[in-house]
């Protein structure tokens, strides 16, 4: 028997491949609700395969709880696959938008805002008569840092997207779906066993 490693609560990424069916988002999220597990972020988009959606769900859990949760997600009929990743097994990104009044930019004699945008590798998405919109991609800590620094100029609106991530796994979705075709075709051997 291995000595058990401490199973601390930490960030996991659950990546779910599903058929594109209405109501499935609800079916997936109630699995979390029932267990009183908070979803840190959730993103749904079409995957590289037509008709297959990819959910990227971020949760803070112990591995044991996360594994049990993933098994419950797999039970949903239209779920093709659900995969559990530690944070470091993925490459991930988020997008943030900041609405800031135009006024400070017009009087930025020290280039403070310009330097801020350069340092954070952010960009100006749009300039309107009253405000500008700044866009930044990055991890949560990075988009949060820019938010903190922009506060001095008045951020009238701030939004951050759900995390999207790509796993380091070599698995190819197309190949995975082919395997599923075989697995799902398997029927019970009951008939052969009769007497």
């Amino acid at each position: 028997m291995n000595t058990p490693q401490p199973d601390n609560e930490r960030t996991f990424i659950i990546s779910v491949l599903t058929e594109n069916k209405s109501g499935l988002l609800n079916a997936i999220t109630i699995i979390f609700t029932r267990r009183k597990i908070n979803i840190e972020s959730i993103n749904v988009s079409e995957s590289e395969v037509v008709g297959v959606s990819r959910y990227t769900i971020v949760v803070k859990l112990t591995r044991e709880k996360a594994e049990k949760l993933v098994k419950q997600i797999r039970k949903l009929i239209e779920v093709l696959g659900a995969f559990l990743y530690e944070e470091e097994d993925t490459h991930y990104q988020e997008l943030a938008l900041y609405k800031v009044p135009l006024e400070p930019f017009l009087n930025d004699s020290q280039n403070t805002i310009e330097n801020l945008i350069r340092q954070h590798f952010a960009r100006i998405l749009m300039v309107e008569r009253e405000y500008i919109i700044i866009e930044k991609t990055g991890r949560k800590s990075e988009t949060q840092q820019l938010f903190e620094e922009l506060k001095a100029f008045g951020v009238s609106e701030f939004v951050r997207s759900a995390r999207i991530s790509i796993s380091k796994s070599k698995r190819r979705t197309e190949r995975f779906l082919e395997e599923l075709e075989e697995l799902s075709a398997r029927t019970s051997k009951k008939v052969e066993y009769q007497d």
Binding site: T18, E19, G23, N26, A27, I30, R34, E67, K68, K71, Q72, R74, K75, I77, E78, V79, L80, L177, L180, E181, L183, S184, A185, R186, T187, S188, K189, K190, Y193
Partner: protein
């Protein structure tokens, strides 16, 4: 000429007159071999009922008295026949009344297809009359659900529904059909569903897991088998006997597994769990290899998980991967249908003998017999006891009846003392513990197996939760034998109040109606038994009755069911008194 003839034949076979969505629903059911439907009409399902009027020769519909009765009847039907139970309800309250039964079927893995009417699709989301979001409400308690808003979807959705309900780990499916779809016309053709790419119901047991399991079993000194509902669902009754006999391993059963293994088999050691037998509970913590087959380590079986079978290497044969390592850590998991796993595993097992180990169970039986069973079955004074009533019924039916139980003390007494000799004979609400289950479930069981004796054993509390189904029993002359064990208490709650709440009997005492008059009001012959000396004759009269029959037995008011593993305690902390 020949070509022309062939062409016209083909056309007639393909081109049929269009039919309504409602008729298509019934045609789908016939294609799936459905014979009996339990249901209750209402506004949003009226087109389907109208179509049913013309299908009376092909489909039997049983009009229940409440939708909960319909779904429990469908469950009872399914549990004794192994077929998919079907029920109909209207939108709104009709559909919500099904929910308890759907949740019950989900947790007890019972295949059902529930069809609910829905308001016309333009009215969806407008708070129309009798509109409820049934898809949303039933989502957490169904294996699958779907709302049909396009008439052409009907055949494919029904085919999928039956396939999902029945395959793999079975469960309830709900199809919600808007009223406009029921009235719309379509060209009908049907193809059974054989596969859904996102759903693999029959995982293949790996060679590695089979070999690992065989090695553990072949070197075990004190192996122990726990059988569950999965044996019955997979039809592995023969395989489990062969497996247990070859390796000479004691077999205990969960509540849902009762009747999967014959109680008179020399290797059968009894019933597991909170009110299970003494040996089967305490030996869980003494065995070296625990082989759990088609069961899910419910908390009523395991008690405190921290002290459950920690010394044992656990082999778990289970079709649902989510159940593996959920409650109990396994040494070897065989993820497959129980029948297939046993068929593959038995040839790898050495012929063995574990006589001394089996004797340890028998020694426990002696202790339990002296401290509990003897007093439970053969009291000489005082009021009748539930246990002795069940024992008399068990003896007089030779353990060959289908026994349907509700929830509570009578259920535990029946599970302990009815000696099942025939498989697929135990119908009870296990996981959900639904009071009111037994009476309607017994109707379904009798309609499913009309040639067998079907006895519903119910407490006075649960009986009154669905007692209106006496109307259904009367209308269709369903020959169920109803036994109400009346202690004028919600007995199990009262027992807990006595043991854990200083006898503070908070709202558990019941003033009951005259049950005999009530049965007679429904033209059901009835007898009340109060004296021990009258019991056998009354049971015989009941068993001999041709049609439905009601027997009320006045039992001891403050009888407790023992043994008992208190909630959250270890299985070794089982109390005999």
């Amino acid at each position: 000429m020949q070509t022309l003839q062939a062409k016209s034949d083909k056309e007639t076979s393909v081109k049929q007159d269009p039919i309504s969505g409602s008729e298509a629903v019934l045609r789908c059911l016939i294609e799936e071999g459905v014979e009996t439907i339990f249901g209750y009409p209402g506004g949003a399902i009226m087109p389907i009922y109208d179509a049913l009027y013309g299908y009376a020769d092909k489909l039997t519909h049983i009009l229940v008295r409440h939708e909960q009765g319909a779904i429990h009847a469908a469950q009872g039907y399914s549990r004794v026949t192994g077929r998919v139970g079907v029920c109909f309800a209207t939108s709104g309250p009709g559909a919500t009344n099904l929910i308890t039964g759907i949740a019950d079927a989900q947790i007890d893995s019972t295949p059902l297809v529930c069809v609910t009417g829905q308001v016309a699709s333009p009215l969806l989301g407008t708070d129309a009359f009798q509109e409820t979001d049934v898809i949303g409400i039933s989502m957490p308690v169904t294996k699958w659900n779907y709302q049909i808003t396009n008439v052409d979807e009907i055949p494919a959705v029904f085919a999928k529904a039956f396939f999902i309900a029945k395959s793999g780990r079975p469960g309830p499916v709900l199809i919600d059909i808007t009223k406009d779809v029921q009235n719309a016309m379509m060209q009908f053709s049907y193809k059974k569903c054989e596969k859904i790419r996102s759903y693999a119901p029959y995982p293949k047991p790996t060679q590695q897991s089979l070999q690992d399991a065989a090695e553990l079993i072949n070197t075990a000194k004190k192996p122990y088998i726990l059988v569950g509902h999965g044996i019955l669902l997979s039809g592995a009754q023969k395989e489990i006997v062969e497996f247990a006999e070859k390796a000479h391993i004691p077999v205990a059963s969960t509540l849902m597994g009762l009747s999967a293994f014959p109680t008179d088999h020399p290797l059968y050691v009894g019933y597991l769990g909170m009110h299970g037998n003494y040996g089967p509970n305490i030996k869980t913590n003494e065995c070296d290899v625990l082989i759990a087959i088609g069961m899910r380590f419910d908390d009523r079986v395991t008690g405190n998980l921290k002290t459950y079978a920690r010394q044992a290497k656990v082999i778990h044969i289970e079709i649902d991967p989510a159940e593996i390592d959920k409650n109990v850590k396994t040494a070897v998991a065989i993820n497959s249908d129980a029948k297939e796993a046993l068929h593959e595993l038995t040839p790898l097992i050495k012929k063995q003998s574990h006589t001394e180990w089996l004797q340890e169970f028998r020694d426990c039986d002696k202790i339990e017999h002296d401290k509990v069973i003897q007093h439970a079955l053969h009291p000489e004074t005082g009021k009748l006891k539930m246990s002795e009533v069940v024992n008399v019924i068990s003896e007089m039916t030779n353990g060959e009846a289908i026994v349907v139980t509700d929830v509570g003390q009578h259920q535990m007494a029946t599970s302990r003392y009815y000696k099942f000799k025939v498989t697929d004979s135990n119908v009870t609400s296990g996981g959900l513990g639904t009071m009111g289950f037994a009476l309607p479930a017994s109707m379904g069981a009798k309609l499913g197996k009309p040639d067998r004796q079907v006895i519903a054993v119910i407490g006075d509390g649960g009986y009154q939760m669905t007692v209106q189904e006496l109307g259904t029993i009367m209308q269709y002359n369903i020959g169920v034998k109803i036994v109400v064990l009346n202690n004028s208490f919600l007995g199990m709650v009262r027992q807990w109040q006595q043991l854990f709440h200083e006898k503070r009997y908070s709202f558990t005492e019941m003033t009951n109606p005259n049950f005999i008059k009530l049965a007679e009001a429904y033209s059901i012959p009835a007898e009340k038994v109060e004296q021990r000396e009258n019991l056998k004759a009354a049971v015989q009269k009941m068993l001999d009755a041709k049609g439905p029959y009601f027997m009320e037995v006045i039992v001891e008011t403050e009888e407790n069911v023992f043994p008992m593993v208190p909630a959250g305690a270890s299985v070794t902390d089982i109390r005999l008194e």
